[in-house]
């Protein structure tokens, strides 16, 4: 009997040294033709992770490309007052079960973090790994009010909204959502309008784009004349994105190129978009660092108000004045500074004692820098 032939490894080609070397060489050629180094913002935290985990940042720098991290980490940009509202609730009322993702529990605020919070007797805080798990908690705990503190961009928004729909179908009356749902295109527009950061182009988030589609960024090229490329999350994916942006710069023809065609379509995911439109409506939301941005957040439509934790528990979602002094997460999220430029980085603020969300989240620029990068930091 001949041995069963093994299929090639899924991502090997997208990570191989030779693919990466060839791409870097081509990129370097483009930069020579452009005659100056360029700066590209990777909007998404997972791209930041790829760049560091594969050790690509120094290699790109050598080729003349400076990568700047953007606001693409939902844990990082969710304002403190969302956390404070749920901390207030769970410490003051009985029979509350607050469910959220692991990273969210570690975000420090002036009221402490969900992890350090001691809930009111009979109340509790639970970590969930998926929105669906939060919904199951409601089914298993009929005597408790289950509040799902769900944070996410377009990638996770459909799954979070779906829990509310499911709750209605199952007639679960003890489930509600504290929605911390953010939209990427308005944030990009805000960064461009502020003009604070000199950016030659964008790497657009691959999985957000799988939902909203390629056309969602057309305004960046048409209105602002800034190049951009949608990219996947393997090292070669990101480099393909960088290559496309450099070519657009050299040709002087900004567009939205799709370098993640194995996943992203021009029009996105119609099923997810329909669900979002059916259940959610945009509002002017606050982003940590970026401030208030028109139509950049989503909340449940009035028809679903009994599932909306803010109305159900009369939560006050108002900017608080409390701020952790010295933390420059906001400037990091805007791309104004890198983690190394923050005076707290690796000193007062580190993964064991994070002072800001960028050091908490697995997609936070500060934690990623701390975990993966050698060099002029620490000790």
């Amino acid at each position: 009997m001949t041995p069963k032939k093994k299929s090639p490894e899924l991502f090997a080609e997208w990570r191989s040294g030779s693919t990466v070397r060839n791409l870097l060489k081509t990129i370097s050629g483009e930069i020579i033709a452009i005659k100056r180094p360029i700066r590209i913002m990777e909007v998404c935290g997972t791209h930041t992770m790829t760049l560091h985990r594969a050790g690509l940042k120094p290699l790109l720098r050598e080729a003349g490309v400076e990568m700047v991290s953007g606001p693409g980490c939902p844990v990082c940009i969710t304002p403190d007052y969302y956390h404070e509202a749920i901390i207030n609730l769970v410490t003051s009322q009985k029979n509350i079960l607050a469910a959220t993702f692991g990273d969210m529990t570690r975000v420090p605020t002036a009221r402490g973090s969900l992890q350090t919070t001691v809930p009111f007797p009979g109340s509790e805080i639970k970590i969930v790994y998926s929105p669906e798990e939060a919904l199951e908690l409601a089914g298993k705990n009929p005597g408790k009010e289950v509040i799902f503190f769900g944070a996410g961009f377009e990638t996770t928004i459909p799954a979070i909204a779906h829990t509310v729909k499911k709750a209605a179908e199952k007639k679960l009356t003890n489930f509600s959502l504290l929605a911390a749902l953010w939209l990427i295109p308005p944030a990009i527009e805000a960064i461009l309008k502020s003009g604070e950061v000199a950016i030659d182009g964008f790497i657009y988030p691959g999985h957000v784009s799988a939902v909203i589609g390629q056309k969602a960024y057309t305004f960046v090229a048409e209105k602002f004349g800034v190049p951009g490329a949608i990219a996947g999350f393997e090292p070669a994916d990101v480099l393909l994105g960088v290559l496309s942006v450099s070519r657009q710069i050299r040709n002087g023809r900004p567009e939205v190129s799709n370098e993640y065609r194995r996943v992203v379509r021009t029009d996105g995911n119609p099923l997810a978009l329909t669900l979002m439109a059916e259940m959610l409506q945009p509002f002017a939301a606050d982003w940590r660092g970026l401030g208030r941005i028109q139509n950049s957040g989503l909340k449940l439509k009035p028809a679903w108000k009994e599932y909306d934790a803010t109305t159900r528990f009369d939560l006050k979602l108002k900017p608080s004045r409390s701020h952790i002094s010295g933390c420059r997460c906001g400037d990091v999220l805007k791309g104004l500074i890198g983690p190394l430029d923050c005076p707290l980085f690796a000193r007062a603020c580190n993964p064991d004692h994070p002072l800001g969300p960028c050091m908490v989240s697995y997609e936070g620029a500060c934690l990623i820098e701390y975990k993966y990068s050698s060099g002029e930091k620490k000790k």
Binding site: D103, A236, Y362, Y372
Partner: protein, 328 residues
Amino acid sequence: MKLVSLEMGSGGRLMQEFIKERLLPAFKNRYLQVLHDSALLPAGLALTTDSYTVDPIFFPGGDIGTLCVNGTVNDLVVSGARPEYLSLALIIEEGLEMSSLERILRSVRKTAARNRVQIVTGDTKVVPRGQADRIYINTAGIGHMVGRPQPEKIKPGDKILVTGTVGEHGLAIMLARNSFRLSSRVRSDCAPLVFLLPLWKKGALWMRDITRGGLATVLSELADRISYPLLVEETRIPFSRALKGAVEILGIDPLYLACEGRALLVVKEGDAGRALRALRNNHASGQAAIIGEVQDKIGRKGEALLRTSSGGLRLLEPLTSELLPRIC
């Protein structure tokens, strides 16, 4: 009020801090301060102890019974000692099924026999329901030194070896808890490392079993201890295919996943080839590999570096907090 967090026991930086700042000063003596896996005592004796609290107590590839013997045996082996006698202390929650207890004890007996160690003393406590989670086990082990770790002799050119595929134990436990609803063929690598003992006489300068914190944490701690940086090649680190698939889906870095039957070795440059052949000829370490070497050209003192499969360099940091999958 400062509270003890889970991370203080997770094998990462917080645990190191706790040991160095609280335990060492409190019990200061020359045996303890070496901070190896076992204490090296007079008359060529080595002593070690470990407590086992794994959840679930039965998992693919092993159970708390195999674990509590192999873990302690392995701590002695990597300290240079041949394991001989073990103690066994059981803390049992009232209400544990007798059949489970018997199954665990069978595992203990079989694993001890396989390792040629005897359980020579022990203790049994039962606590009221809810005051422990099913069963915890503590074992201590004692043995005679057959070799000696010599980190001070490690120099550029010496080779870094692993004895097999890494990360399976940590992943098997994670999946067995079923929080992720992902099934996989990954089984714990829980196994004895006694087959490494002869290598102490054949060029091994240092060994460490790769447990909590995974390969990255072990490398980073070794780098802290010696005068030269370390460089390992991602493409040379053995991973099982099943593990590669699962960590891809979960977004977990396998370099931080624990093993319970794998070790990292530093072997003298001239002896490394022979050591590798010896390991590969043993079926328990058939996938052993040389994954890197001690450096004097790349990196700085104290650094453990990884050359990624894409050709970049990145620093390996010790585990800082419990693993969580990505949220977006």
